[in-house]
């Protein structure tokens, strides 16, 4: 390890033992061989000694509780099923996806058992999205954003913005309230934080924005196109494909937006003996804040793409087989542009 770092960084003032345990007489870097704590920040009180407020808030944050994995899917279950799910599925597998303080500040998280190791020596880095967020959100968000799936890079990436230019540490660390899922989190970013569409110079742009307020989300027009969908999820394994799906937001039932397939299927937890009595309560599609924004898309180029050709709008025949009965609620058929009165 960098000697300068040891000397100058307050974190190392007491050597390695305060965090990793064991004795400090050896300087062997390989902690595993000494039976020491490999993931010290699993214990929030450790960082909490000095970062008390952050640690206290973080204990309730979604990244730590992964409560989103529990509260959404259990809406499909009765009480007993939900209890079984919590014991047999959530605590066994979902909890392990949670982030420790170290996952964002010290060591790149392992995905599929592989980690690229410490983020930057053993520095306590403030932010390094490419080595932290990118791994846990590497299934869809990150590669969608950078264009690594061979799609189109998000315009914000083109302009040099990274995750934390929109997302705030406050929202990630949490505010001390135990939210059940991401929609409840305060301080989530929104396009309107930075853009106030409706007074552009170009008339067509202005019309596009003003006529669709509340009717079509920004993603509906500005998502570049195909994004990833995971389906057929069984025991953590799922298949994925690229697709572009427009439909009515299940969140508010009134705005057309990009939708993503939810990986849970009827028999997702069959192996663990958990059934879903109320499976049909939630649809198999959910709002997708896709990170592939472009100024121009085939929809901004053509009003007819939606109003005449209905491109991308999901129709009954395209819904997944044996899906939830609530899926009917996301279907939407746009009408031709009304003639001027």
């Amino acid at each position: 390890m960098d000697a300068g770092l040891l000397k100058d960084d307050v974190h190392f003032a007491g050597g390695c033992t305060p965090c990793h345990g064991g004795d400090d007489t050896q300087t062997d870097k390989d902690l595993a061989h000494r039976g020491k704590v490999k993931r010290p920040s699993e214990d929030l009180s450790l960082c909490g000694k000095c970062h008390g407020a952050t640690a206290a808030r973080y204990s309730k944050a979604l990244h730590y509780t992964t409560a989103g994995f529990r509260h959404v899917v259990t809406k499909r279950m009765n009480h007993k099923e939900a209890r079984d799910y919590n014991e047999r599925v959530f605590e066994q597998s979902c909890r392990s996806c949670h982030a420790t303080c170290g996952s964002c500040h010290v060591k790149a998280p392992a995905v599929g058992g592989i980690s690229i190791g410490l983020i930057k020596g053993h520095r306590f880095v403030r932010r390094d999205e490419g080595k932290t967020c990118a791994f846990c959100h590497g299934g869809r968000v990150y590669p969608e954003y950078t264009g690594d799936y061979g799609g189109k890079a998000d315009v914000h990436y083109q302009k040099g913005m990274m995750c934390m230019d929109c997302h705030s540490a406050g929202a990630l660390h949490g505010d001390g309230r135990a939210y059940r899922f991401k929609e409840e989190v305060k301080g989530r970013p929104s396009c309107r934080d930075c853009h106030r569409p409706g007074n552009e110079e170009r008339l067509t742009t202005r019309i596009a924005h003003l006529r669709h307020e509340g009717k079509v989300s920004c993603y509906g027009c500005h998502s570049a196109g195909e994004y990833r969908h995971c389906f057929e999820c069984h025991e953590g394994g799922a298949q994925s494909k690229a697709d572009f799906v427009l439909g009515l937001s299940p969140k508010n039932n009134r705005t057309v937006t990009t939708l993503r397939l939810v990986p849970t299927v009827r028999d997702s937890f069959k192996k663990q003996g958990v059934t879903m009595t109320h499976y049909d309560r939630l649809p198999n599609y959910w709002d997708a804040p896709v990170h592939n924004i472009r100024k121009r898309t085939d929809r901004t180029r053509s009003c007819e793409a939606c109003h005449e050709e209905k491109r991308g709008f999901i129709v009954k025949e395209r819904l997944i087989k044996n899906g939830s009965r609530s899926n009917a609620g996301v279907l939407y058929e746009p009408r031709p542009i009304p003639a001027k009165p």
Partner: protein, 299 residues
């Protein structure tokens, strides 16, 4: 309004005079097509350094003054095809927002660790020339060499002043499948994939058939580099090219690979460094060609 119009007229006039001046000097290029880290270090103030690595890599350290537009904004997926050109207006926006104008002198810099890394920069250089930027160069060895040579790096992100990009596109630098089919037996068609691919022993999963376009000659991309990712010297490159396509500088030469990315490396060397005048890229490449059962292939 009138003021504006007159201003425009004057600038058109100035443009005409300028073009005349350029034509008078024999070779318009002031910037060497391939520059070294030593040269670039001394001439940073004369060029726009365009860093095409990822945003986070750029933020971690870059050549002082370099602007960053990551590779993913220069080449897109269209339909089934990877590495295609963005729409003209989108490309103009990308160029303009990077502060690039047709008369800019641009040095494109990427990573060089792997063979795939190395061609990010050449594909972008090709795209700039396609869009009408007149002087585009490559940094031999890329950012990796810059760091290995111990040159200064900066972590200060550069926000370029946006320009309204109005270059004239050289549409003739790209050819379609039909044009390749028409060139069979006439022009020189060059397969830049590695020998095993050319010989039909291997293929990528998204390429439907083994083998190469009928009559194509082989000139693998890997032959142009030294072990450290820098380019071989000009005469070595000239000999390699001549052995594959001959010395006739006017003949039509069409390059292809699997997706239209690797082949931009030899395209750049042939056209910008070695003086072949009629070199084109088949952007659809094997990904498109092999899908058509009627498109002739061998062996």
């Amino acid at each position: 309004m009138i003021m504006k119009k007159r201003g425009k007229f004057l600038s058109v006039l100035a443009g005409l005079i300028f073009v005349g001046a350029l034509a008078a000097t024999a070779s318009a290029r002031e910037l060497e097509p391939v520059v070294t880290t030593a040269w670039l270090e001394k001439n940073l103030d004369k060029v726009i350094v365009l860093d095409v690595r990822k945003v986070e890599e750029y933020r971690g350290g870059h050549i002082p003054g370099a602007v960053n537009v990551a590779y993913g904004s220069w080449a897109i997926k269209r339909g089934e095809l990877l590495n295609e050109l963005p729409a003209d207006d989108d490309l103009r926006d990308v160029l303009g927002s990077a502060g690039i104008e047709p008369a800019s002198k641009v040095v494109v810099v990427g990573k060089t660790a792997t063979p795939a890394d190395r061609v990010d920069a050449t594909r972008v250089a090709w795209t700039l020339i396609y869009a009408g930027v007149s002087e585009v160069s490559l940094l031999s060895g890329g950012y990796d060499k810059w760091v290995a040579d111990g040159k200064a790096v900066s972590t200060e992100a550069v926000r370029p002043r946006a320009k309204d990009y109005r270059g004239r596109f050289h549409k003739d630098l790209v050819v379609t499948k039909a044009a390749v089919a028409a060139a069979l037996g006439k022009g020189v068609i060059v397969d830049v994939r590695e020998r095993d691919f050319y010989e039909g022993k291997k293929k990528l999963p998204f390429v439907e058939r083994l083998g190469h376009i009928k009559g194509a000659v082989s000139l693998p991309t890997s032959t142009m580099y030294e072990a450290d990712g820098t380019y071989k010297a000009k005469d070595a490159l000239a000999a390699l090219a001549a052995a594959a396509v001959g010395a006739d500088r006017d003949r039509e030469i069409i390059l292809y690979c699997d997706t239209g990315k690797f082949c931009t490396a030899w395209w750049f060397m042939m056209r910008e460094l070695l003086g072949y005048k009629n070199v084109k890229v088949y952007d659809g490449s094997m990904m498109e060609w092999a899908k058509d059962p009627a498109a002739p292939m061998e062996p």
